[in-house]
C-alpha cells in the first residue's frame, strides 16, 4: 500500500493535516509537508538525536517513526518552545550559557532536555550526561550544553520557589 494517507495531528498546539505515503518518516512529514524545518536530520538512522521531537510528551527520534504512526498524536517541535515571540526559560538558559555553536544538533538537544526537565526537574550532572548521551554535538564539546541545562533547572526551581 503506497497510496498517500490522510494524517492529522496536533503540532505545537495547532491541528495540522496533510497527506503522506505510509513510508514517509515523521521527520520528513514535519519538515517537508508541514514546513517545520527546525527539526533536523543528522543521520537518519536513530543515532545522532538531531531529529528528536516530543510525541505525546515522550522524546522520540522522528527519523525512526513514520508519519502515519503519529496520527492523532500531539507533537512538539523546537518551533513550539517559544511563545508570543519570547524565548522560554530553557532557551534563555541555553543562550546565556553559549550552549551551541552551529545550531544543527540544537533541536534534538532542546527537545530531549525539555522532556528531561519534566521527568526530573533537578537533574544531577551525571543524570544530564546520561540522558543526553544519545545526542551528538560536533561543535561544542558538550560542557556549554551541560551548563545550560543546569542553569535552566536552577532558574525553574528558583521561579517555582518564588511563587
Amino acid at each position: 500500500m503506497t497510496e498517500p494517507l490522510d494524517i492529522q495531528l496536533v503540532v505545537n498546539g495547532s491541528t495540522r493535516q496533510a497527506k503522506a505515503e505510509p513510508r514517509r518518516t515523521l521527520a520528513d512529514f514535519l519538515r517537508e509537508d508541514l514546513g517545520l524545518t527546525g527539526t533536523h536530520l543528522g543521520c537518519e538512522h536513530g543515532v545522532c538525536g538531531a531529529c528528536t521531537v516530543l510525541v505525546d510528551g515522550d522524546a522520540v527520534r522522528s527519523c525512526l517513526m513514520l508519519a502515519v504512526q503519529a496520527r492523532g498524536a500531539t507533537v512538539t517541535t523546537i518551533e513550539g518552545l517559544a511563545s508570543d515571540g519570547q524565548l522560554n526559560d530553557l532557551q534563555l538558559a541555553m543562550r546565556d550559557s553559549h550552549s551551541f555553536q552551529c545550531g544543527f544538533c540544537t533541536p534534538g538537544f532542546m527537545m530531549q532536555v525539555t522532556a528531561l526537565l519534566v521527568d526530573n526537574p533537578t537533574p544531577s550532572e551525571a543524570e544530564i550526561r546520561e540522558t543526553l548521551s544519545g545526542n551528538i554535538c560536533r561543535c561544542t564539546g558538550y560542557e556549554s550544553i551541560l551548563n545550560g541545562v543546569l542553569r535552566a533547572a536552577a532558574a525553574r526551581e528558583a521561579a517555582e520557589s518564588s511563587h
Binding site: E21, T106, R138
Partner: protein
C-alpha cells in the same frame, strides 16, 4: 588625509562574553540550513554509488530508472559530463586537479561510494527507488589499499594519466647542518608514529539546492560551504557560465571543520542538472554517503629520528612522512610543506631533515580537517615523551630544556619563521603550576598498588594564526561596511561562519571601533553578490576578519566624521561617534543620531561639491604584526586494564590566543576541538579492510564522542605581549584538535608504563588497549 590615530574609544564589547546574535534563530528552529530550502518545482537528486573499491565500468544502464513514474532525469556519468563546459578541468580543491576524472564516474570507480549515476525525481524517495533499477557491469581491478601498495611501481594506476599511484614522489628538504647535529648527539631516538584515518563529520552533511533560471540564464546556488566565492568560481568554470550569472548563497551551516570547501562533484552535477532542466534541483547527502565518500583526513605515517643529548637537549630531527591521499585529489599532496614548516614548533632545533611522499589509494579523498597539518604536533610531542622515557627524564623537564621563554631572544624556527610572541614555554610553566605533578605521581603509585592505571600526559603546540609578519601570513582579508539610513552599521564579511559566531564577534569589534551599540551592527555573510571574496578556514577569522573589522570601522568612522564636520560646522578632530550619535567631544547636547547625519548629507547644498558622501568603505587587511596562537594541554586518564576503556579524569588547557574578542566563544572553540581530539584517539576511525572495502558507514560503526566521554575542560588563558598596535586577536579554531591527540596518547602511555607499552599510533580504542597490554592477541 585625515588623522586616523584618534583616541581609542572605550571598549565596551570586545573582551566580553556577549550573547550571540545567532542564538535566537538557532534556539527557535528558525535558522535556514541548505536542506530547509524549498523552491517551487524543486526536484531531488540521488546518486548511485560504487560498492567496489576499484573497478572498470563496463556498462551503466539507466533506462529502467528513467521509466519509473516521478523520475525526471536518470543519467550516466557520460550524460552528466555532456552538460558541463567542454573546457572544464577536473576539479581539485583549490583549482584544476592534477589528474583527469569526470564528475560522475565514467570509465572506472576509484573508491567505495564513488558516484556512478544520478537520478532526479519529484521526491528523494522516488529518486532512491529509481537508483535500485540502474544496472552496472564492472570488471573488478586489484584495489590499492595502502601507501605501501601505492608507492609500489607495479600497482595498478588508479588514474591512468598519472601512470602510477605516486602523487608526490619522495622529496627531501634539509634545514641546518643535519649531519653535524646528528654527529654531536649522545644518542638517536627512533620511532615510527601513525595517525589513523578519521574524518570531520559535521552534523549537517553536504548538500546543495541548485536553481537555474532559463529566462535570465543565471544560476543561484544555495549551498553549505566555507566560502561562497570559491564555490562560485568552481561552478562558473564547470558550467561555462559567466561569473555574473552565478550567485552562491549560504545560510546557516553546520560544522565542516575544513570539509566543505569549493564545490563537491555531486554539487556540480546538481547545478548542471538544474541548468539542463530549468528547474531547481536539491541534493542532500545522507550519512552513509557522507561517511564513505565526503572525504577523510589524516592517514599518515611518520618515521622520526631525534638527535638528543643525555641531558635532554633535542638537537635535531629527521622525519620521513608518507600520506595516504585517498582517491581523488584533495589536500593530501599539499600537506607536506605545512607539516615541514611547523615540525620544529616552539623548540630550538638545530637541524631538520624532512622527507615527504604521498600515494593515491582506493579510499576516500584526503580533505582538510581542523588543523590538517597536526601530524607535526603529534610527531613532535610524542617524540618528546619517547625521548624523556628513554633518557629517564620527566617530559616536562625535556620541554623546559628545549622551549624558550617569550622574553628571551625569541629565535627563529629552523624552517624559517620567527618565534616572536610565542608563549609556549609560559604555557608549559603555567601547566606545571596547575597540575601538581609530584602529588599526581604519588597518587598514581598508590593506584597502581590497587591495580588501577592512572596516567598523565602533556603536549605543547603553536599555530600560525596568522603567524608573525613576514612568514607567508594569510594574505589579505577584505571587508566592506556601510552606514545605513537608519543608523545601522552593516558589515559585509568574507568569512562564512559555520558555528564560529562571527555574526557576534565581528559585530563586537565593529561596534566598539565605530561607536554604535552592538545591537546596531548587522553582519552579512554568505552571498557572493554582496560579500568580498574569501573563506573561513585556517583559524584566520580572529586576526584577519577581526582586524579587517577594526580597520574598516575606523576608516568609515573617520569618513562619517569628515562628512559630519560640514554638517555640524566643527572640525572632524573635535567630533566623536558615541552610542550611535555624532557629537562635539565633551558636549553631549550637540549629539545628532547617525540617521540624521545620513539624511542631512543627501540634502542639496549641505556638503561641498566633490566630497565623497557614500557612507561606505571597503578595505583589505594584511594581518598586521600577526602572532602565534598556542598552548599546552594536559590530560589525566585512567585506563581500565580489564575492559581497555580509557576515562579522562581531568583535562587542562593553557592557551594563548592573544586578546579575546568573546571569551565564551574562545572557550567553545577550545572545548570543541578537544572533544574531537578525544574522539580521534578513543573512538573514531574511518576503517577499511585490506581490499579497501569501507567498514564505517553508519554511526554504529563510526563512533563519535558523546557527553559521557567528554569531561569538563579546565581552561586557563594566557595573553601574548601585544605585537600590533591595534589587532592582537589570534585564531583559536584548530588548536584543541591539533594538540589533544598527542596529549591523550602521552597520558595513556604513561598510564600503561607498568605494562611496558609503547604507544606509536593515535587510535587507541579498548580492543587496541587490550592488545597493547597483552590481555588479548
Amino acid at each position: 588625509m585625515a588623522d586616523t590615530t584618534t583616541q581609542p574609544i572605550a571598549q565596551r564589547f570586545v573582551g566580553e562574553s556577549v550573547k550571540r546574535s545567532e542564538d535566537v534563530r538557532i534556539l527557535t528552529g528558525t535558522g535556514s540550513y541548505v536542506d530547509d530550502i524549498q523552491l517551487p518545482g524543486m526536484l531531488h537528486a540521488a546518486f548511485l554509488r560504487s560498492p567496489l573499491a576499484h573497478a572498470r565500468i563496463l556498462s551503466v544502464d539507466v533506462s529502467a530508472a528513467r521509466q519509473l513514474p516521478g523520475v525526471v532525469v536518470a543519467m550516466t556519468g557520460e550524460d552528466v559530463q555532456g552538460l558541463l563546459a567542454p573546457s572544464a578541468p577536473s576539479p581539485g580543491i583549490f583549482g584544476p586537479a592534477p589528474v583527469k576524472f569526470t564528475i560522475v564516474a565514467t570509465d572506472k570507480v576509484r573508491l567505495v561510494g564513488d558516484p556512478i549515476a544520478v537520478v532526479v525525481a519529484e521526491s528523494r524517495y522516488l529518486a532512491e527507488d529509481a537508483l535500485q533499477l540502474v544496472e552496472v557491469e564492472y570488471d573488478e581491478l586489484v584495489p590499492v589499499a595502502n601507501t605501501d601498495q601505492a608507492l609500489d611501481p607495479t600497482s595498478t594506476p588508479i588514474f591512468e594519466d598519472l601512470g602510477s599511484n605516486v602523487i608526490s614522489a619522495p622529496t627531501t628538504n634539509t634545514f641546518g647542518d643535519v649531519a653535524a647535529v646528528f654527529a654531536k648527539a649522545d644518542r638517536v631516538v627512533r620511532a615510527t608514529l601513525r595517525q589513523h584515518r578519521h574524518q570531520n563529520v559535521p552534523m549537517e552533511c553536504r548538500g546543495v539546492v541548485a536553481d537555474y533560471n532559463p529566462d535570465t540564464k543565471a544560476l543561484t546556488v544555495h549551498g553549505s560551504n566555507q566560502g561562497v566565492g570559491i564555490a562560485k568560481m568552481v561552478m562558473s568554470a564547470q558550467l561555462g557560465l559567466p561569473a555574473d550569472k552565478v550567485r552562491v548563497l549560504c545560510g546557516d551551516i553546520c560544522g565542516s571543520f575544513g570539509l566543505k570547501i569549493g564545490a563537491a562533484r555531486e554539487e556540480i552535477a546538481a547545478c548542471a542538472l538544474s541548468k539542463a532542466r530549468g528547474r531547481p534541483v536539491r541534493w542532500i547527502e545522507d550519512r552513509n554517503e557522507h561517511l564513505s565518500s565526503s572525504g577523510h583526513a589524516r592517514e599518515e605515517t611518520l618515521e622520526a629520528e631525534a638527535a638528543v643529548t643525555d641531558d635532554g637537549d633535542i638537537l635535531g630531527l629527521k622525519v620521513r612522512m608518507v600520506v595516504d591521499t585517498g582517491a581523488y585529489p584533495g589536500m593530501g599532496g599539499m600537506i607536506g610543506s605545512i607539516v615541514q614548516g611547523m615540525l620544529p614548533g616552539p623548540y630550538s632545533l638545530g637541524a631538520l631533515e624532512f622527507e615527504f611522499a604521498a600515494g593515491v589509494t582506493n579510499k576516500a579523498t584526503y580533505v582538510a580537517y581542523r588543523g590538517p597539518w597536526a601530524a607535526e604536533t603529534f610527531c613532535r610531542e610524542r617524540m618528546v615523551d619517547i625521548i624523556a622515557k628513554e633518557l629517564g627524564l620527566d617530559p616536562v623537564e625535556v620541554r623546559r630544556r628545549n622551549i624558550r621563554y617569550q622574553g628571551d631572544n625569541p629565535g627563529t624556527m629552523i624552517t624559517g619563521r620567527s618565534l616572536v610572541g610565542a608563549t609556549a614555554r609560559e604555557s608549559v610553566e603555567k601547566m606545571a603550576e596547575l597540575v601538581d605533578l609530584a602529588a599526581f605521581r604519588a597518587r598514581q603509585a598508590e593506584a597502581r598498588e590497587e591495580g588501577r592505571y592512572l596516567g598523565i600526559g602533556m603536549a605543547t603546540y603553536i599555530e600560525a594564526a596568522p603567524g608573525p609578519r613576514g612568514g607567508g601570513g594569510m594574505g589579505n582579508e577584505t571587508m566592506r561596511m556601510r552606514l545605513e539610513a537608519d543608523g545601522t552599521l552593516t558589515v559585509f564579511t568574507a568569512q562564512m561562519p559555520h558555528g564560529q559566531s562571527h555574526e557576534t564577534t565581528l559585530a563586537q569589534v565593529a561596534a566598539d571601533e565605530f561607536g554604535v551599540p552592538f545591537e546596531k551592527v548587522r553582519v552579512v555573510a554568505g552571498d557572493s553578490d554582496q560579500v568580498p571574496f574569501g573563506f573561513t578556514g585556517g583559524s584566520r577569522a580572529a586576526t584577519m576578519a577581526g582586524g579587517a573589522s577594526l580597520h574598516t570601522a575606523r576608516e568609515l568612522r573617520q569618513k562619517v566624521l569628515d562628512i559630519s564636520s560640514h554638517l555640524l560646522e566643527a572640525s572632524a578632530d573635535d567630533l566623536e561617534i558615541v552610542d550611535g550619535r555624532v557629537a562635539v567631544k565633551g558636549v553631549p547636547v550637540t549629539a545628532k543620531p547617525l540617521a540624521d547625519i545620513v539624511a542631512s548629507a543627501s540634502e542639496p547644498g549641505r556638503l561641498p561639491e566633490g566630497l565623497d558622501a557614500t557612507f561606505e568603505v571597503a578595505r583589505s587587511y594584511d594581518g598586521g604584526e600577526g602572532g602565534w596562537s598556542g598552548g599546552t594541554h594536559c590530560a589525566i586518564v585512567e585506563v581500565d586494564a580489564e575492559t581497555g576503556l580509557v576515562a579522562i579524569e581531568r583535562y587542562f588547557v593553557v592557551e594563548d590566543c592573544g586578546k579575546m574578542i568573546n571569551p565564551a566563544v574562545v572557550e567553545g572553540q577550545v572545548r570543541g576541538g578537544v572533544a574531537q581530539g578525544i574522539g580521534a584517539v578513543l573512538l573514531e576511525r574511518s576503517a577499511y579492510d585490506d581490499n579497501a572495502q569501507f567498514l564505517a558507514g553508519t554511526f554504529m560503526d563510526y563512533l563519535l564522542p558523546t557527553m559521557t566521554e567528554v569531561p569538563r575542560i579546565e581552561i586557563h588563558h594566557l595573553e601574548t605581549i601585544p605585537l600590533d598596535p591595534d589587532v592582537n586577536f589570534r585564531g583559536v579554531g584548530e588548536g584543541g584538535m591539533i594538540v589533544a591527540p598527542p596529549t591523550i596518547c602521552n597520558a595513556i602511555e604513561d598510564a600503561l608504563a607498568p605494562f611496558g607499552v609503547e604507544v606509536r599510533e593515535q587510535h587507541l580504542p579498548p580492543l587496541r588497549i587490550l592488545e597493547l597490554i597483552g590481555a588479548i592477541d
